[in-house]
């Protein structure tokens, strides 16, 4: 029989370890490990969560309702996806919630009176619960990234279909609006695309491919017609081919399982892409929508690193901290150039601003280039 004193002690221990950034020791989960549940004090007006920085794995919350209304307790992921919930916590009672939480950011919520959005609070889950075997953490990374690829390729296919539809309908304005959006999904998964040889230049080749004896097709060919001549009446076959190529790459990408090392290199390649193509403005030389691609490359790189995170946390926690700092820095720099839902055009940025972005990318490239070595440890 567990006693309240024990909970109080455990809670004090949890509070003591909370707030340590990147704290990766498990403060819950396996009861055999001696960790007590996270105490949540709920009332009609408050929702105090004892610890808001946890290790990944199974978390146990013990919610005590001191209010006069029946309450509910939820753990939400992004977009209010329910990770776990416990309902019917009557006044004066305590109930427990066991919920499995992978690393990420979440929100906790108490709902006094069982209605409304509830009293929200942030919850950070990092690291991994118990030292998984090295291979298991890396295996998870591969699986995680594959899920990411799956979601991005599905969106890529949707948006490309829309884009191709607009091009074939001769709707220049709509095509122009969809062009950077469809490319966003493409640019996020570019390292995967590059594995498939000549599909990449077919879809994403710039005019220079002609010099290599290839035909100039794909996104950039349509971009040129859209922004330079404004005449896309002959682009139907090009658009059709683009869709066929994208479909093929989507099927291949979903069938492919990237190794952790490929993930690490992919994260690096995406940054090189930013430095060589986006900051220079070469990539989207007609439309100047380079910042869309910039943001997408950055997101793709971050997704690859996130997938490797639990493994990196074990091997090199200080590298994880460094990566977090540099990613946040570049995101802040890029954030300055937001424009509504999208981004400013490349041409609207001054030399100083581009230099600033370039420095940020270089600063991030430094820890990213160490990821592969850390993974291979």
């Amino acid at each position: 029989m567990r006693t309240t004193q024990f909970f109080a002690l455990a809670a004090a221990g949890v509070l003591a370890t909370a707030g340590v950034a990147g704290c990766s020791d498990s403060d819950k989960g396996d009861p055999a490990a001696g960790g007590g549940p996270i105490v949540v004090k709920a009332s009609d007006t408050a929702c105090e969560v004892g610890s808001t920085d946890l290790g990944a794995g199974t978390a146990t919350f013990k919610i005590t309702n001191s209010g006069a209304k029946v309450t509910e307790f939820y753990v939400y992921a992004d977009g209010d996806r329910v990770m776990g919930e416990v309902e019917n916590i009557a006044p004066g009672l305590s109930r427990e919630l066991h919920v499995e939480l992978p690393a990420g950011t979440y929100e906790t919520a108490c709902k006094p009176g069982m209605s409304g959005k509830g009293i929200r609070g942030a919850l950070k889950v990092s690291g991994s619960a118990q030292p998984l075997t090295a291979d298991a953490a890396l295996g998870d990374a591969t699986d995680n990234y594959q899920r990411y690829i799956k979601s991005q390729t599905a969106a890529l296919l949707d948006k490309t279909e829309e884009f191709v539809g607009a091009v074939k309908a001769g709707d220049v304005a709509k095509s122009k609006a969809l062009y950077p959006v469809a490319r966003t999904y493409w640019e996020r998964i570019e390292p995967v695309a590059e594995i498939f040889g000549d599909l990449d230049p077919k879809i994403d080749g710039r005019e220079e491919v002609i010099e290599e004896g290839m035909e100039f097709t794909g996104f950039h060919r349509i971009e040129k017609d859209l922004w330079q001549s404004g005449d896309i009446s002959k682009d139907g076959p090009i658009a059709d081919r683009l869709l066929v190529d994208v479909k093929e790459i989507v099927a291949k990408a979903n069938a492919e399982k990237l190794s952790p090392l490929q993930l690490a290199n992919g994260a690096k390649e995406l940054l090189d892409e930013v430095a060589s193509g986006k900051i220079t403005g070469e990539e989207d030389r007609y439309s100047h929508t380079d910042l869309w691609d910039f943001a997408a490359n950055l997101e793709g790189s971050k997704a690859a690193v996130s997938a490797l995170r639990p493994a990196l946390q074990q091997r090199s926690p200080e590298l994880v901290t460094q990566l977090d700092t540099e990613f946040a820095n570049v995101e802040a720099l890029l954030g300055k150039h937001r424009d509504g839902d999208g981004w400013k055009l490349h041409t609207a940025l001054s030399k100083t601003e581009l230099k600033e972005l370039s420095d940020g990318i270089n600063a991030l490239a430094e820890p990213i280039s160490k990821v592969a070595a850390a993974v291979a440890k």
């Binding site: 009861p31 055999a32 199974t58 006069a68 209304k69 029946v70 977009g79 209010d80 996806r81 329910v82 990770m83 776990g84 919930e85 416990v86 309902e87 019917n88 916590i89 009557a90 006044p91 004066g92 009672l93 305590s94 109930r95 427990e96 919630l97 066991h98 919920v99 499995e100 009176g113 069982m114 209605s115 409304g116």
Partner: protein, 301 residues
């Protein structure tokens, strides 16, 4: 305290409503021999709920300890319960027609139903809410050393729900047979639609179905979930103040066609004068005369 009482009432009603109609139906159609199976189903569900609740509360079992697993468990048992209850609804309709058609001899035949089905229905009706109720009960019991109020309130709520079930059963026995089938059938359809809606909501909470935050409407301001009438509505028909779109579609998509099918007029028969003699069936074989009379009452849709 009252809030805790309402939890007991709501959770209790979700389980007792189907069981009391099922028992009334079996007694009404002279299938008392099926009653032991009903109680066996109910008993098994209660025992399993108590046992599982205990395992989750006092041991480090991982079986159903995660909330998603429990949502999924409730969702699956709810949907299974809907299947059984739907089948029972049409079983009642057939019985009603048989009686309306004065084919008394065929009644038993029409009601030849597996014991397993009856026991299964009773079991599912109780188990789907039993586990959650057991967990609330344990949490109240654990707090009882300091304050036994919540525990008593919870038990009071469950007892009230059972009493309402008994009341429903008793009043259902009083109405004449044909009316009984029509009314309890219609009531059961609303209950089943509620159970289905509940199951869909749990599938959404378990992350199996999307659209949990996509609300059809939100009348929380008019129908405050912490009031007694909201608890009653939720317990009986699962009417909630802020349902999701998918839940609402499930409810309407079930209730409307089933109600139409159920209430569509049976084959027309020449109608003798109707009687409205109430039938009471306290004993096994009393009231057969009266019933024979009322059996000639045509079924009106």
């Amino acid at each position: 305290m009252f809030a805790t009482y309402l939890i007991g009432l709501r959770e209790g009603l979700e389980a007792t409503l189907v069981v009391s109609i099922l028992v009334a139906f079996l007694v009404k159609s002279q299938r008392r021999d099926r009653l032991p199976q009903v109680w066996a189903g109910v008993g098994l569900a209660v025992v399993l709920s108590v046992l599982f609740g205990w395992l989750i509360e006092y041991t480090s079992t991982s079986l159903l300890a995660r909330s998603e697993d429990r949502e999924l468990f409730e969702a699956i048992t709810s949907v299974a319960a809907v299947v059984f209850v739907t089948w029972m609804i049409f079983w009642m309709r057939r019985a009603a027609r048989t009686i309306a058609g004065e084919l008394r001899g065929k009644l038993t035949e029409a009601l030849a139903v597996g014991s397993l089905a009856v026991a299964g229905m009773a079991f599912l009706a109780v188990i789907r809410e039993g586990l959650e109720t057991a967990l609330i009960f344990y949490s109240a019991a654990q707090g009882a050393s300091g304050d036994s109020g919540p525990l008593l309130a919870l038990i009071g709520g469950i007892v009230t729900a059972v009493m309402l079930g008994v009341l429903l059963y008793a009043s259902a026995l009083r109405i004449n047979l044909t009316k009984f089938f029509t009314w309890t059938g219609a009531l059961l359809i609303l209950v089943a639609a509620g159970i289905l809606k509940y199951g869909v909501h749990d599938f959404q909470e378990a992350g199996v179905l999307p659209g949990l935050n996509n609300l059809a409407f939100d009348i929380t301001s008019t129908l405050d979930p912490s009031t007694w009438y909201a608890a009653l509505l939720a317990g009986m028909f699962n009417v909630t103040p802020a349902p999701t779109v998918l839940e609402t579609i499930a409810w309407v998509g079930y209730a409307v066609p089933v109600l139409l099918l159920f209430l569509r007029p049976a084959r027309r028969k020449p109608t003798p004068t109707a009687t409205t003699t109430p039938v009471t069936e306290r004993g096994a074989d009393t009231g057969t005369e009266a019933e024979a009379e009322s059996a000639s009452t045509p079924q009106r849709a």
